[in-house]
Amino acid sequence: MSCPDKSVLLHGMLDGELDVVGALAFEAHLKECPACAAEYRRQQAIRAALRRPELRDRAPDALRRKLEAALQPPRVPWWRRLLGDWRLGGAGAAALAMALMLLLVVPRGGDDLARQLVDSHVRSLLAEHLVDVPSSDRHTVKPWFVGKIDAAPPVVDLAAQGFPLVGGRLDYLDRRVVAALVYRHGGGHVVNLFVWPQPGASDAAPTAETEEGYRLLHWVRSGLEFWAVADIDLSELQAFQAAYQQGAAAQGMP
């Protein structure tokens, strides 16, 4: 039986955590105490067994590849490169982390519109994809859309209502180029408002959907189809919708 009061020293010695004085003192003790010396040798043997390389695991290649792929910067689609190269600076790693998490946990597949919208929202949070025209000034954002899209959407800054405008972007949805207005909310959240013309469509009041945990709000007004997508509470998204519509009305949209 080794000396009970030497247990911590013995393990400290084994782990190289003793200072020089402590190590020398313990070595001196080992010379005098056969029980501790035997225990020390036994622990060294166990430690050698525990440190065999087979007991350390190598991550499977599939896992490594999945993580590496999720960490690659997203590829920029050809049509986006043709459209221009405006970017928003410095949004931090948070958006990318979120995108990584989604890439890893959200099963892909399905091609209905809600899923496409959510995919587009998620892609927008990836590097290089949030906005093409970074500006909180609607007089900059609105003209940017003109000529790039059939109908430029009403651009309203909602900073006073808690949704500052970040900018605008073109996106590709349902085989057509659509406008996306980007708003921030409550620090980290992003609201994407997708807009495209739907000539002849009658006005429709907002209806809510949930897809992959994201909130979607859909409405039609004046021949334009609107889809707001965000990971915020429905009541907040409804407040956003009301504020946007009010602002658009103030700009002369019926």
């Binding site: 525990l50 065999r52 007991l55 350390r56 896992l63 998490m101």
Partner: protein, 184 residues
Amino acid sequence: MRGTEDAAKRFRETVLPCLDDAYTLARYLTRSTTDADDLVQEAFARALRYFDGFTGGDPRPWLLAILRNCFYAWLRARRSQQGEPLPDPEEAAAEATADPWGQTPEDPEAALIRIDEAAVVRALVEALPEPFREVLVLREMSDLSYQQIAEVTEVPIGTVMSRLARARLLVKRAWLARQGEEAP
């Protein structure tokens, strides 16, 4: 977005090389390759989200602390799903002073089958209660210092030392029992 790209690049260069350490700890904690896979993915996603908070130095304690938190959250969720109470780690630590290998093997034949030694050692480690298993894996498989283990497991260094001593004592007893020797 330059900032995000740089952060992703820095993350790839500093945190991704710790993947094997993360996977090793995940595997010993979950005792399952599929659960370890899931746990590592979750931990990396969370690590990337909190990468701003990484202040430099050895990234392993930082990453492994995140992984360990993910593990206990996962364990809590799983146990509450199955209606099992979650044992308090301190309580589990106290209980484990009893020798879990005191009893003879259920099937004496099994002990005679020649098993790869590494597999035996792995089984011994996996049989340790969580508070001892994690300090032993962090020390022996990832070669973390006492200070780093204390950071990962969020306990004082003194507790790390006593748990490590206890973990090795438990392994030794089991080891000696396997070899048919008399434990001192």
